[in-house]
């Protein structure tokens, strides 16, 4: 079994547009909203959402990137310390509505880490979650407020989001975990 | 009851008689005997080498004073298991052997144990302080033939000259010098070179040894006395020795098994068992020492057996004392690393470990030749028996430079004055 494409470039674009509208609808505009993308790839998606909001409302929305590596619950368990990414939150989150943005929602552990990290930055009015893909198999009581696509998967499958900014193309791909692991080794 | 032993069919290597052949050797009543022996205990010598008992020119027995590291008894047991029937015990005990009293004490202790004949070495200077001559004459009367301030050099040339001249009144006394210039060697933890600078350890250059070797040879030339150079470590020292010998200076020299086998590279892990004086030097030095031993420029192999307490050697590198034990590994080390690869003949090895040191020490009952009427001080060893150097050792201490290594060559029997003190690899006392 190989890799199959769950969403192509056009579908991703439409999903992001819809999510942008939903955020604006729910929060009655963009005044109180800030977008924080979870590195890596979540931050690229957050930037795209900000562009959509700018296009729709004519209003710039602050965008930040949050690396949650230091808040992970599996430090010391894996062979090597997890790789770090950049955090850049140049604005105050106190009293704002923070929309966390990530590419894939799976067990929920990354989001849990992101919540802990965010709380160390201040006290938002509310935290909402936007994800491009929800693939199920939650291990913690976490749910997304905005979902691009719900994709039922098996636990032994691997769902990856490719983004033009990082990977040269836009796609959501699913593959067997064994196959993708072997591929990585060669 | 006279004990009779027959060493049957061993390869007899006896450089003093120029002999290397398979033969039977009979021992009766403490001496080698000519009779065809019936009713003797037969010791099967098939596959074994029979040689005159080994003689160590340089051992530290630590008693009196540091019985926690070694005693005369444990040191002699280690020696016997290593195939030694005689050893010279250095004078840097506490109190030092600078008078007949300590000499007698050490000799009596050894005699009571009866595992190895001990020839105590007398200090050259009182208290080993390097300032005034000790009562050398009194010690000669007590049977001393070698004097040494080993641990350090005699600090000034005049004092050395006087000592060497003074002992010419006595027959065949030799001054043995540990050659190290205190100022050049000060603070040195290992050989000065690329490795010491990378490890951040203060180094001691080979010139620290060479300047004293040169000085001592000049004084020997001046006085016409007998000089013995302890534990040489440097190619430069070998060159000085060669030239002096050619000029007729009465000098002999020794080298240790560890200087023949190891080098400064063995210190990269800060292994304190490799920390000794003189330090392990470069590959070139080691090669020069091996060549000099093979061609006879260096006369003998001596162990410089230097026991230290476990906790002292487990301390930080620069706090650990210098030295390695070696009585139990000397023979095997020489066999494995020099004879096996063909750098040294077996005969030359036996000569360096037994015949020549016996002669330097004046230990006439030892070193061969193995012939009727002479005291039976013998060692029978299996040159191919493989073993691993691991505690427990007979020595009280564990600081073996060969720790953890595999060697070939195992002593099977050691015979002291016709008595089997080591039989089948086990000490009998």
């Amino acid at each position: 079994m190989g890799t199959s494409r769950l969403m192509d470039e056009a579908e991703i674009g439409r999903a992001l547009t819809r999510i942008a509208h939903e955020i604006l609808e729910r929060n009655k505009g963009a005044q109180a909203v800030v977008l924080v993308g979870i590195a890596a790839r979540g931050d690229d998606l957050a930037r795209r959402l900000a562009e959509e909001v700018l296009r729709i409302e004519g209003r710039p929305v602050p965008v930040g990137a949050l690396d949650i590596t230091f808040y992970r619950d599996d430090i010391g368990i894996r062979a090597e310390a997890p790789e770090v990414h950049e955090t850049r939150i140049d604005f105050d989150i106190n009293g704002r509505v923070v929309v966390l943005v990530d590419d894939v929602l799976f067990t929920g552990r990354t989001i849990r880490s992101a919540l802990d990290a965010l709380i160390d930055f201040g006290r938002p009015t509310a935290i909402q979650l936007a994800v491009l893909v929800d693939r199920g198999h939650r291990e913690l009581p976490i749910r997304a407020d905005y979902v691009g696509k719900n994709v039922p998967t098996r636990k032994d499958e691997d769902v990856r989001v490719a983004l033009r900014e990082v990977d040269g193309e836009d796609a959501v791909l699913v593959a067997d975990l064994v196959a993708s692991r072997t591929k990585e080794r060669t | 009851m006279p004990e009779r032993f027959l060493f049957r069919g061993a390869r007899v290597v006896d450089p003093a008689a120029g002999r290397d052949e398979v033969a039977d050797v009979l021992v009766e009543d403490g001496v080698v005997s000519a009779d065809g022996g019936s009713d003797a205990t037969v010791l099967d010598g098939d596959g074994l080498v029979l040689a005159p008992g080994l003689v160590d020119l340089h051992t530290h027995l630590r008693q009196p004073g540091r019985e926690d590291k070694e005693t005369v008894e444990t040191g002699c047991r280690a020696a016997a298991l290593g195939g030694f029937t005689a050893l010279a015990a250095m004078a840097n005990t506490e109190p030092p052997a600078d008078s007949a009293a300590v000499i007698h004490e050490v000799r009596d202790l050894a005699a009571a144990v009866g595992l190895c004949e001990v020839f105590p070495v007398g200090a050259i200077t009182r208290g080993l302080e390097g300032e005034a001559m000790a009562e050398l004459g009194e010690m000669v009367e007590a049977g001393v033939r070698i004097f040494s301030d080993d641990g350090q050099s005699v600090p000034n040339a005049r004092l050395l000259r006087n000592a060497m001249t003074y002992v010419r009144a006595f027959d065949d006394v030799v001054i043995a010098e540990h050659c190290e210039d205190a100022s050049l060697g000060e603070g040195g933890q290992m050989h000065e070179g690329l490795i010491s600078s990378s490890l951040g350890l203060a180094g001691e250059p080979r010139q620290a040894e060479e300047v004293i070797v040169a000085r001592d040879l000049a004084v020997a030339r001046l006085t016409g006395g007998r000089l013995h150079l302890c534990h040489l470590s440097s190619a430069g020292s070998v060159e000085l020795l060669r030239r002096a010998r050619a000029e007729g200076v009465r000098v002999t020299a020794e080298v240790t098994p560890h200087h023949l086998v190891f080098s400064e590279e063995d210190l990269v892990t800060y292994d304190t068992n490799m920390k000794m004086k003189p330090p392990l030097r470069s590959h070139d030095d080691r090669a020069a020492l091996r060549r000099a031993l093979a061609d006879g420029t260096i006369d003998a192999v001596a162990t410089d057996h230097a026991p230290h307490a476990v906790e002292e050697k487990e301390a930080e590198f620069d706090q650990a004392p210098f030295g390695t034990i070696g009585l139990e590994t000397a023979l095997a080390a020489v066999l494995t690393h020099l004879v096996e690869p063909g750098e040294l003949t077996l005969s030359r090895a036996v000569e360096a470990l037994s015949t020549t040191p016996a002669r330097i020490l004046g230990a006439h009952d030892h070193g061969g030749p193995i012939e009727p009427g002479r005291p039976a001080n013998l060692v029978a060893f299996d040159p191919s028996a493989e073993w691993s150097v691991e505690p427990p050792f007979a020595s009280r201490s564990r600081n073996a430079s060969f720790l953890g290594r595999t060697l070939r060559g195992r002593v099977v029997h050691t015979m002291l004055g016709g008595e089997l003190v080591v039989a089948d690899g086990k000490a009998q006392r």
């Binding site: 808040y71 894996r78 062979a79 997890p82 770090v84 160390d120 769902v159 990585e184 | 906790e311 930080e316």
Partner: protein, 318 residues
């Protein structure tokens, strides 16, 4: 990465890049209101300082605390021998306390390596005798990269008592590893004769070297060395090898002046040079915390176990 950091030789060039990149993230943490992350929560880091060094100890202490680790400070004033308890016994005690990492500073070269024989945790060398001080070299590399944009090809002068300097050794080895050009400058008595074999240049003429440097790294010279007769007097040393204001003017524009601290103002470096903008000595201190956080994180953030799952194997577990 290795389990221990005892010497610069324990890390590859790739490891160095990783350490510096990770330190970037920790520097950002240092700009937050809450300068703390839970990454090493529940871990115990012991500072075992046999030599007095307030600044390095505090740097390590802050690093560990900002990672939410528990910190134990064990400082003696001298060597274990003078205090009565052997290094081995102290090590076994720390082991029994469950130390995950031990940061050790000791006056004996090789003491950290000796320590690894008796403890299961990670050992970090904070300076051992005249051997190495790898965390200092790493924070110096970080400072250079941060200010000058690169390490490869940089021309760095290391000036002073190289012979007795663990910082000089680690830094020399690190610069060579990362493709920079190091030149040691000092009187012949204070430069190890084997130094060229490390891959560095040697010069005894400071003024001829200064105009060609991107970084001028000044080492501390102890007055004790004059007592030991390595040079005739402090006055002559400062005249020949000190970085005066005039000499600092010989450095190219944009070149940095660095010093591991503490400085002997007026000996190896003049006061007014130390206070110049190009002297990044205080930045070195700040960067020290980020680098030490990076090292603690990388050493303790992985189990190091052979069969442990790797990040990719469990999939993107968002």
């Amino acid at each position: 990465m290795n389990r221990h950091l005892l010497s610069i030789h324990d890390v590859s060039a790739e490891d160095v890049v990783r350490i510096l990149d990770t330190a970037e993230s920790f520097r950002e943490v240092g700009t937050r209101v809450i300068k703390k992350v839970p990454a090493l929560r529940g871990r115990t880091v012991v500072n075992l300082f046999y030599e007095n060094s307030t600044r390095t100890r505090i740097s390590f202490e802050l690093a560990a605390k900002r990672l939410s680790a528990d910190v134990i400070n064990f400082s003696t004033g001298g060597s274990s021998v003078s205090k009565g308890e052997s290094l081995k016994d102290t090590a076994l005690t720390l082991q029994a306390m469950g130390a995950d990492a031990i940061v050790i500073r000791h006056s004996s070269s090789g003491a950290p390596l000796t320590l690894t024989r008796w403890v299961r945790g990670s050992v970090l060398n904070a300076g051992d005798g005249t051997h190495e001080h790898p965390t200092q070299a790493l924070l110096d590399l970080y400072t250079m990269r941060d200010r000058l944009g690169r390490i490869e090809g940089l021309r760095v002068g290391i000036v002073g008592d190289v012979m007795h300097s663990r910082v000089a050794r680690s830094l020399s080895f690190a610069l060579v590893k990362m493709g920079a050009e190091a030149t040691l400058v000092g009187p012949p008595t204070l430069i190890p004769p084997e130094a060229p074999a490390w891959g560095v240049q040697v010069s005894h003429d400071l003024e001829s070297v200064l105009p060609k440097l991107d970084v001028c790294y000044m080492l501390r010279v102890q007055r004790e060395r004059q007592r030991q007769q390595y040079f005739p007097s402090v006055r002559e040393y400062a005249r020949l090898f000190g970085l005066s204001r005039t000499r600092a003017g010989l450095l190219p524009e944009g070149a940095l002046v660095m010093h591991p601290g503490p400085m002997n103002r007026g000996v190896e470096i003049d006061s007014d040079v130390a206070d110049l903008p190009r002297a990044v000595i205080e930045e070195q201190v700040t960067n020290g915390i980020a680098i030490r956080m990076s090292l603690l994180y990388l050493l303790l953030g992985g189990s190091g176990a052979e069969g442990a799952p790797r990040a990719e194997e469990v999939g993107a577990d968002a």
